[in-house]
Point group: C2
Chain length 409, copies 2
């Protein structure tokens, strides 16, 4: 039995086509440049380590000992650690979404919510509508589930209802994916009146609305409008189509991998089934930590610091770009989140070509193509102001200006 | 736009059939009884909290501060936190599987490895072979991926090669799922000579072998044979079909949600793609904690304590059952792991019927039906000795005896 002959295969042969031919992430490919000495990377969307409340987290970790630590090291329910479900229900309630612990499904990061929805709702061939531009890892999740992604155009106030209406009628999509608050990459906020329009259209066409809200708490001068989920009671039938995803990654710490889902019980139940076979539950330790952090009021106390710091960074980058690239780059000053989304004015501009010159000038951005379903050359680029203090952002803007001269655009 | 009429749907209508009709877990349904006061539950497979090294974990947590804690709160690579990959490579090497950090994919629990393999390898209609009996959450993962599960019979030494050969020839399966060491629920160990047979057969028929090993470190008197993955060099072609899953859940702490995968690069790459859209990466904090725990030698120092404690418990349950149910229950004394798998000798015995009497006598077990693909009434039952000290296990065995009298079997 030890000299097999026929039937032997190469390991790659076992992998399904959709995974064998999946493209690498363009953002991931930039990673090797981000770590070069002297580089100012405005490419990553990473919370600034120096803005995290490391001391507060350390306090809370230190308070876990004996029985409470043993509990935090044990298995827990798939729906989540009850103290965290309670704390997230209170947080959601505070954000205009009255909730109880039983309404909350804790996720291993809100990314898992996107994936659980893709797995439990989308069958191969189903259509998903997304904003153009949108978050690349959502595009990947939908495609790996075998779905077809169709883009919906928008303007500075988010998706255009008349374009959405036509897409709903044409494609009969199963789901619409939106990041209504300070979206990645567009930084746009879906206008309040459009939120009701979106809900009414979704109900009329029997389409789920997956609302992904990792940035909503990071507003600078004024909070964003109420979430679509918060408005579901105002539109008949909307309660059946609204699923909300929250995240602690941009506000508390991404390394905890914690997010949460609110939505109809039937959909949460399906997601719990999928999560049972996926990872059983999110880490009990990080859940217990986050629960205490929220309960002790540390989260509420920390948010104003974060908002002020990111606000100052957003303004610094916006101002510096206005000076360094006046008349060549069009963008709106960000009102929250971590990103500035800009368009190169030159005709036939392709920011992928510019990127090579930028790398020579030791500055990085993400070319816009990564955020569109077709991946075609694009005049757009995404800049993150989250990871650098104001001085670094100003220097980065100057390098961008110089590199654009160098690129001949 | 606010009074939708046609097209509105009920939330449940959005859920795919495979998730809408998935049965609830029979083990989960027992949970409401486990928490009743006075109940001795031998149903759950949970590591005993009092046997965890809580003080050691607390030491390590306390050593994370400032920059090291900030690092542990940040995003990390999908493949895993490098110090943990290094520590798990060293651990794997120590277990006869020479590995480097780059060979290790860190998982959010080894459960995720089962699911990532199901997602990246199994297309709807593909056949997966499993041992009978087997781990129910693996059955669920394969079925939710649309695969057909076919059982392979075994004896006290694990799957029978001649039965496996026939199943491979008949069903042309894509994958064979095995728990070769102290399996859940059977507690069986796949005999050393059969491991080579299994590899040769799998290569010959072009079938992946997914080796799940959460219990291998919990041996009582002697370690189990080398893993199939460790033996892959001895069978031509086997390196292309061997995937190994390790877990820290039964030995360090389940609440950390940490496991790891070793296997062909092409398969790990596909699993990384799937993990990117699933949860981006396992918690950096729990990975940093586990890395330090392993690096500081605490894991190696703690394992002998665990083995001795579980060994004593396994013997206590085995001895007590032998006395309380002599001649009515057949089982092998466990040599490792957390479970004792027993068969009721009465003809046409169905342990689901016995369970009702057991609950009245304040003792719980899991009826065997949960562990077979067909879910039919079964004369088998699974007992866990992990969660009770010896006195509780003896009392549990006596209650089982009394309840069986009461059940009229």
């Amino acid at each position: 039995m030890t000299t097999p002959t026929h039937g032997a295969r190469d390991a790659a042969d076992f992998v399904r086509d959709v995974y064998r031919h999946a493209p690498g992430s363009p953002i991931r490919e930039l990673k090797r440049y981000t770590e070069l000495s002297g580089m100012i990377s405005l490419a990553g969307g990473y919370p600034a380590p120096e803005l995290m409340d490391v001391a507060g987290v350390q306090d809370v970790l230190g308070s876990l000992s004996g029985a409470s630590l043993a509990r935090a090291l044990a298995y827990d329910a798939t729906d989540g650690h009850m103290p965290l479900r309670e704390a997230l229900a209170a947080l959601s309630t505070d954000r205009g979404m009255p909730s109880e612990a039983a309404d909350v499904l804790v996720l291993t990061g809100s990314q898992q919510g996107i994936d659980l929805m893709a797995r439990t709702v989308l069958a191969p061939g189903d259509v998903v509508l997304v904003e153009a531009p949108t978050y690349p890892a959502a595009l990947s999740a939908f495609r790996l589930a075998g779905a077809t992604v169709v883009e919906v155009a928008g303007d500075d106030d988010g998706v255009l209802p008349e374009v959405l209406a036509e897409a709903l009628a044409t494609h009969a999509p199963k789901m619409l994916y939106l990041v209504p608050n300070f979206g990645n990459p567009s930084a746009r906020v879906l206008a309040a009146e459009r939120r009701r329009d979106v809900l009414a259209l979704a109900v009329r066409h029997g389409c789920l609305v997956l609302e992904d809200d990792p940035y909503g708490d990071l507003w600078f001068d004024a909070p964003p409008p109420l979430s679509l989920y918060a408005l579901r009671g105002e539109v008949a039938g909307a309660a059946d189509v609204c699923v909300y995803l929250g995240s602690l990654s941009k506000t508390l710490a991404p390394g905890l991998r914690l997010g949460w889902m609110l939505g109809p019980a039937a959909i949460r139940r399906a997601c719990v089934l999928a999560k049972q076979v996926d990872d059983l539950h999110a880490s009990t330790l990080t859940q217990a930590l986050a629960a205490r952090y929220l309960q002790e009021g540390r989260f509420a106390a920390h948010l104003p610091n974060l908002r002020a710091a990111y606000g100052a960074r957003g303004r610094a980058l916006s101002d510096a770009l206005g000076q360094a690239l006046e008349g060549r780059l069009t963008f709106a000053a960000p009102r929250g989140g971590m990103f500035l989304w800009a368009r190169l004015d030159a005709s036939d501009a392709d920011t992928s070509a510019w990127l090579q010159a930028a790398i020579r000038h030791q500055v990085l951005f993400v070319p816009g193509a990564a955020f569109f379903a077709d991946g075609k050359p694009s005049p757009w680029l995404r800049l993150s102001f989250a990871s650098w203090a104001e001085d670094g952002l100003r220097e980065g803007a100057q390098r961008l200006g110089a590199s654009l001269d160098d690129a001949g655009a």
